[in-house]
Symmetry: D2
Subunit: 413 residues, 4 copies
């Protein structure tokens, strides 16, 4: 249905029964495919501290395999370039000093071409590793490869969200891909429906089948009160009513911190919206387009999601409510994983009994469990196959450069 | 046991069966008693945006009764001064525009003396109100008075925490009260004990008997896993070991946001600690004193509490664990309400089914339910009688100007 | 002619032939007289980093005599309080560490009363010094006393400019003195006249008769081209035309740095102007008043003065042009010293051959000779007798909290 | 003697008698030659607000000819791309809105290749213009072309200074050109000599022969006192003594603003110096190199130059002193135009009688005449033929990314 899906996503729909090796190299190749519309200049610049240059994503996902796999399991492995360890470590304190995040855009060297060579070098190392262990991959090697695949898929999404932040800062407002469809209409014309999942003591978290991140565990039980969850996402049309009702000028609709963000960041509409004359436009991966009323609203902060819910007399779901509903109604709940990430009212925290792993891999999720809010689902930019009901994404309450929207919940009284 | 308790606190220990009227005026009088050691200059200056001048606290707690009670229930009531409504509204959007928080220290006018007159004017109004309704106070009037009493008690604590922020910025390091004992030693010399409350489905929140804030409700059930809670607070002695082990220089001990705070705010020890020569001193309400090893650590941020717990191989409790334990072991758990507020790992959020009241009073707690962490217990600066097991205090994770410490928890595996 | 003059200024008009001793104590007394309308709260708070609290001015001018005179020339002198040396040193690196300027408002202690005791203590020391040297004051003692008198007069002016910055930040907009006349009308109704001083090789700087600051020396010759100088100051009426012509929205009228200041500081009118409804008001030492069209414009930055001159097709004078004209036409040039300081186009720099004195006194002027612009004349807040044609005042180009205006010049072509 | 001179500079030594047309296209070609060592990535990124990307310099110098020449004098001329007018206008308010300076690094589009096409397009336009006016170029066309040539030469220098700011931010510290010699030794081994130009009434400014900027005019007379000027520049060796004497830790050596800059920007040495182990290195266009003691110190701020002069008991010259000496001793004064720009103590201001031209060209220099200090001479990065004794360069007192040094002066007493 979506242009990009038809053309591109199918190529990388990774059936779980394919061999690990195929899956790995297909993911690696897909990352590079994503960069095809981008010049080496596009791949180098950083528009904001939160976002990274494409070239950095390409290098970092490669460094991940070099640092955590090849250096540890292949004795004869030689680093492609000693300086890359410093350039492409993201935030792993255990892995030593690194180039500061806000300066990732200074890396005009190494060149995009050299980073491409780096990718090939590491891919050869990975090939060697599979050959070396051809009889049987050790369990911990498999785990690192699975983590590396999923890690790279996360960065595939970030390549798209981050390049949009760059192109939106460019006065030419270039399109990443004129055929990219992110603003597709909501499928159904029927009235929103409200689903009521079975509550009480419910199971939360990943059951251990297949890949999962440490933050989805330990699976555990919790107690839920009855609630309803809307089967559809809030749309741009809904949001225009919110704007036209003066929401961005009405302090009583907002959390205290939210109202501060509205004023200090001069928010008048979702991120990437621009009013030209009397009309609202939206900067997208397909370039500037009129705001489509029936498409899900995107690039909103937690504060805006929360204020909208208050305005409409509903609320955001907790992440547990979302998960229970997503497991119960995988088909009835529309746009679960295909449009925008959905803010929940849950602060990102460890599940009971969570203990991060030792060493650098333990930094993957645990050290961010503070001050952020959980989003569930996935977006049109999420790599196919990377979504599941237990997946926990998280951003700060004022973040707007991801494809983030909302699905409403309400109490049953 | 504590100097201040013996001399001062007894005066305002408010038995719940005293009449509302007595309790109200005793609280009002106690606020003024707290200001006795302070000159009008001390009462005027604001040392940081988070803290307010004493004079502002005196005016604001008075405005609260004027705006929410006298103006609404006494037709003949006349505002003491039209401008005070603007000066002394804190954050109530429903009550209209107000003087910006970071500029509260600009209010050299009205003078401390005029604010004192304002207090008398409103106290006379309150006396009139009791006489007017002498047969029976309407239920909503009682509720506002109870809220006003508790509100004023909260500001009594803030008067103390905020004046310390001022005196710590003064090169003379003046004492608020040389006899004030905040750094008292931990009572028991016995080894810390670990208590194991009964878990499973437990009751959380206030049961409705006596006064409570809206954020303690609705009371509800939740599901807890087995855990242990330490019967004592972490001490300065423990913290010195933490410092000496290089904690403030070891990024892997910290949450990512916490490590950022350490570096950007140059933290090397708890708030108000100063190293003079080879020795650590602590600025307190009694002036500069050597750090007492057996006193509970105070003025630490959430980040520091969390890092300490990691360093020692334990964790912070959730607010629910704290509450369940506090209800189960009111006597076995030491220093519950008498020393420092205790950080929990719970982000401040609405209880299931929470709906803020209409109008300004609905802003009391609800709009702050974002980005802050819950503290339980009370501190030496909390007015006696203002504490309870369901009480939820909350501050940002980097706040250090309150009397905040920690009590450790751990999993039972 | 001006209210304040009649009532107050006469008292301290210091005839040069009075004894040094009388002049000193009259200046000291006048400083205190200036503080009479101010409560101790008013005297304590600092509204902006550039401005200091009254109490600090009172302490600092006293410290000046203690540190530079009494400690050096009276062996038996004992400091009033050891901590005051730290509190009241302004910027003298030679005199050791000091309390940071932006934190001067934290000094609720020492109290205003104690600072008053300090003044008496030092005044007694000064009395002792005069008695001790009753036969003949050493030349260097005389020089320090003269410097101290002039230094204190400078702070008398700052007490007035700084208290206005505080009262303008107070929502009550209190008056320092309701009778204070700063916005007096321009005396003459005649058309502005343009004076043409004799040019060529001219003498600049102080001739050494009477007191002068080091920055007025060495006197030297320079070469001036023919020019005209307006005999009157630019008025608020002129400025309203400037505003109404869209000056604050027209980038081409401004220096590049000036336009940046306009936008980043949101300037739409001179400092302390406020538009209420359709009318412009001005916060003054007499409180809020309508803008008087025939009064000289005040509280404008160098950028605004410069842009106005461009708009009207003239220019600012250099400081040398101003001085030559002021010497040539002491009576024809109106409002030379009585209304507002007059911006010149001269960057504040050393005169040829200038060498600062050794030690702390050498820091008085020299180390500020960078990035500031010279103002000539004096303002209504300048102590009578403190002005002269060679006097050089200086502020940064974006400063607006002083009583600063302009007098136009033009080339003769 | 200098590598770059031998290889490169000779190519563009522009004899004044060559035809305007040849000179124009040679300058245009040389700009492109300068970019040869740079990838398109290098050409795109902006390391600091003051510096611009190479690609932007390439586009802007081209836009200059399009906007100020081709559009005005060739009726049939069509803009290469409508959006470029917005992208490549630097600061000309008369030329309309433009892309904000700090975001010049966001311009990954247009690509370097497209900017190259733009250059060719405009070069063709310029060729057409020469053909069109082949009999005789109108005087104002000649003037714009001359201005455009000189403007482009200024940007040639900026391409070098700005790329160094980028490469110094890159952890790989790449060299622009390993053979580039900027740190060449001072030619003579003889002791510094002090020259005493004839003073009194002297002629300042450009006499109108050949090209000059408006800020060098009107030529006029001024009066100079006797002084001496050193025939050599201050060296790195001198600077190491300054550092080793604790200069960066001694507040009394500095202007007040200078000391603030030292502390707030953590200066411990000139710009681009790095201490590795016990040794000082310097990042240059040839990459990281040991600091050469006999090379002129470079990349110092005005504050540092001024403090050094004070430390050594001398002073900086005024720009008039420098000019008079440079005219009197073109050969005796060494390193006048070949090594580093030389700070003077003169604030950048209009010469008497200066009136900027109407329209955009009038913004070239005039609107920057505030808060900056004049530098005289030229640097190793200045295009040959672009220097002269009356040339006025100017930067803010804390700027350090240009090749800036100092030559000492002193009074004759």
């Amino acid at each position: 249905m979506f242009a990009r899906d038809v053309e591109v996503k199918q190529e990388q729909k990774l059936s779980p029964d394919r061999s690990l090796r195929s899956r790995l190299f297909e993911v690696r190749a897909y990352t590079e495919k994503l960069t095809e519309p981008l010049s080496s200049e596009d791949q180098t610049v950083q528009a904001m501290s939160d976002a990274s240059p494409t070239k950095w994503h390409l290098g970092h996902t490669t460094w991940f395999f070099e640092a955590f796999l090849l250096e540890k399991y292949i004795e004869s492995y030689r680093r492609f370039d000693e300086t890359f360890h410093f350039c492409f470590n993201s935030y792993y304190e255990h892995a030593g000093p690194r180039h500061p995040r806000p300066l990732r855009g200074m890396l005009t060297r190494p060149s995009a071409e050299k980073v491409s060579d780096y990718r090939r070098h590491v891919d050869e190392g990975l090939t060697y590793l599979f050959d070396y262990y051809r009889l049987e991959l050790p369990k911990d090697v498999i785990e690192i490869i699975e983590l590396g695949i999923n890690h790279e898929q996360q960065h595939q999404e970030l390549i798209l969200t981050d390049i949009l932040s760059l192109f939106a800062s460019n006065p030419l407002r270039p399109a990443y891909d004129k055929g990219y469809v992110s603003h597709h209409e909501i499928d159904s014309f029927t009235k929103p429906d409200w689903l009521m999942p079975k509550v009480g003591i419910v199971e939360i978290g990943h059951d251990g089948e297949g890949f999962y991140y440490d933050n989805e565990c330990p699976s555990h039980v919790t107690l839920l009160q009855p609630f309803k969850l809307c089967d559809q996402l809030v749309t741009n049309g809904d949001w225009l009513e919110f704007i036209n009702d003066g929401a961005y000028k009405t302090p009583t609709l907002w959390l205290s911190d939210g109202w501060y963000a509205v004023r200090s960041q001069n928010w008048e509409a979702p991120g990437y919206w621009e009013k030209i004359g009397d009309f609202w436009y939206q900067m997208t991966l397909a370039g500037m387009n009129p705001v489509h009323k029936r498409a899900p609203v995107s690039n909103i902060s937690y504060y805006e999601a929360e204020a909208f819910a208050r305005w409409v007399g509903k609320r955001l779901p907790t992440e547990f409510e979302w998960e229970v509903a997503a497991k119960a109604y995988p088909y009835e709940l529309k746009q679960l994983y295909s449009h925008v990430w959905q803010w929940t009212t849950s602060s990102y925290a460890a599940y009971p009994g969570f203990v991060p792993e030792k060493g650098a891999v333990g930094e993957y999720n645990g050290k961010f469990m503070c001050n952020q809010y959980v989003l569930r689902g996935a977006s049109h930019a999420t790599t196919l196959g990377h979504s599941r009901a237990t997946y926990r994404n998280f951003f700060y309450a004022d973040s707007r450069w991801q494809f983030t929207g909302l699905r409403l919940a309400e109490n049953i009284t």
